[in-house]
Symmetry: C3
Subunit: 258 residues, 3 copies
């Protein structure tokens, strides 16, 4: 069975890419499950952070399931369908109002790299590795799937990955802006969930607004007056009053997402 | 007294954020003084470089003055006025025709980070630290104030700062593109002013043109024929003749900004 | 004699900037030869990778030929002609359908930096150095020639190079995103050509498509349906069938660019 498993523990949702016989390679069914699970997470306003990881410690995900390509992505019609489904899943992550974090051990290749690239955070173990050596498989990355990587690391690093087919080790991937943080392999889950808890300790509405405004600014158009006013929505929240009061009283705030 | 102090020594102007009892936290009056001082600097064509720093060694600026927020940024109308004044100050730095340099010791947080982010250079001491952990105060950064940071380090680093509320130490901030240079704490003023003098040793008109063309290219529109011709304005300057002559005669040039 | 020499060995073309008496400074004739050679390379579909280097080990290229500026770039008309020719050469590299790689030893300054900046890869020796200290010569960089550098490293690093006139050593240039890889000086040619061979070992059509789609995405417009369909052109190639078959049979693929 190849699955994408959803586990919600308190405010943190964990999605696990689960295809351990193939280093968690992602097949069409898994892309569809990923989109479905992200829909559930997006609709659940009690969730404050989403961790995406692979089953086991050997891989986040080693790419697409190449054996399936022979039958399920052989014609233009199939390819448009297949990569349309991939786009639904990647967009569901990119558009998720809750902060998203890729917890990366081992291989993070092809489709796995695409998923990690659209998360807000990437916490990786020292021996993890990154790439998409599909030039040696004779196919090109779907342009829509390059967009997240281009935004994250720019064209020079994407060219290194795609034209040379280079596999970047964690340290080099960090130096090139692909990763948020690299830690010892045995600490990657601890650091990822500690980061998730730090995210959860902030005011939830503020996290959503920060994601929204960052995305909005990236489209380059100037803000309208209505948007400028909307950016002060926090003024009317209980959480803002609580946050300021707690700071001035030197105590820990208790946020309620309202 | 909380002030922004202007000191001009030769070709170098120094602006000091001065609120030492609150780690140079910036209040509304200081944002207004900052805009006013930058206006004076912009109008003074004898100035070749602007250094912005905090009073003392403990902070560049630790953020906005949160106590003031309770009274002076409590309503939408107040917030639009307050952040409109911040925008005037940040734009005055970003639009300054003279090169600008943030000299950073200690805390560079919130509004301090916003100021540093719109300077041309950021020279920081090893123990300085950077962030905007306002998610734990229950408010979001004004989108217009994110723009300089987004341009400098991209969305992934801005998300780390805003969603996790992470404080980056100088080395990590450098690795992530936030800083021009990190030096030992006791050398940060020396290195900042040495950099300012290197900037001053170039032809002044050329510095202004470089700033102007870099800004112009960032808007993405192709250059017009008139702009292409204008970019050769140096041909008619004494400084260009002097610069080439000095090079060919292997001597130090003497520039006169004409 | 100052020349730009073209040598084709198998699938790899090498272009050598050759003006050793002036650290390979590039004069107008060399810019024109560079454009001419790039035209030949672009038209030759048997070439899979282009390596651009300087003659000898002391320089990639130390900039423009300043002595020539006095006579050949003294008027606006001359300057428009001169930098128009530079643009033809730089665009010929940026638009080349084959992957391009700068092999950098020693000085990579001014026009040399501009050439390296529009290549797909930059492999540099430890003691190489990078800059464009033309502020001390009294002239500004032609805006069109800044574009490749701005895209590669962003405005903060370009300002450091142009406003301070700073020379970056290889390690710092790598940290700031200017370089793909830094290796020991005596290994730079080996690593550059090993990289070229890795590029050549991928499917050639795929390299061209990856370059094409990366460039297309950078213009920001959404992909049309026709472009989405065109991005699956690989489905009808022999090389895709060969690539998948070789992977599933655990053997090395043999690509034929068709």
């Amino acid at each position: 069975m190849t699955t994408v498993d959803l586990l919600v523990q308190g405010e943190i949702a964990t999605l696990t890419l689960n295809n351990p016989e193939k280093l968690n390679a992602i097949n069409l069914s898994m892309w569809q499950q990923l989109a479905d699970r992200m829909g559930k997470i997006t609709a659940d306003s009690s969730i404050r952070c989403v961790v995406i990881r692979g089953a086991g410690n050997d891989a986040f995900a080693a790419g697409g399931d190449l054996e399936e390509f022979v039958t399920a992505r052989a014609t233009l019609e199939q390819a448009l369908h297949y990569h349309g489904q991939v786009a639904v899943a990647l967009n569901a992550i990119a558009d998720c109002p809750h902060p998203t974090l890729a917890l990366i051990s081992g291989a993070c290749i092809g489709g796995g790299l695409e998923i990690a690239g659209v998360c807000d955070f990437r916490i990786a173990g020292e021996s993890s590795r990154f790439g998409a050596p599909i030039n040696r498989l004779g196919f090109s990355m779907y342009p829509g799937e390059m967009e997240g990587l281009l935004r994250l690391v720019g064209p020079a690093v994407v060219k290194e990955i795609l034209l040379e087919g280079r596999i970047l080790h964690a340290r080099e991937a960090y130096e090139k802006g692909l990763l948020t943080r690299v830690v010892a392999d045995e600490q990657v889950a601890d650091e990822a969930y500690a980061t998730a808890r730090r995210i959860c300790s902030g005011a939830p509405l503020v996290a959503g607004w920060h994601k929204q405004w960052i995305r909005r600014l990236l489209d380059g158009r100037p803000l309208t007056d209505a948007e400028k006013a909307a950016s002060f929505a926090f003024l009317d929240t209980e959480d803002y009053k609580e946050g300021l009061a707690a700071f001035l009283e030197k105590r820990k705030p208790v946020f309620k997402a309202r």
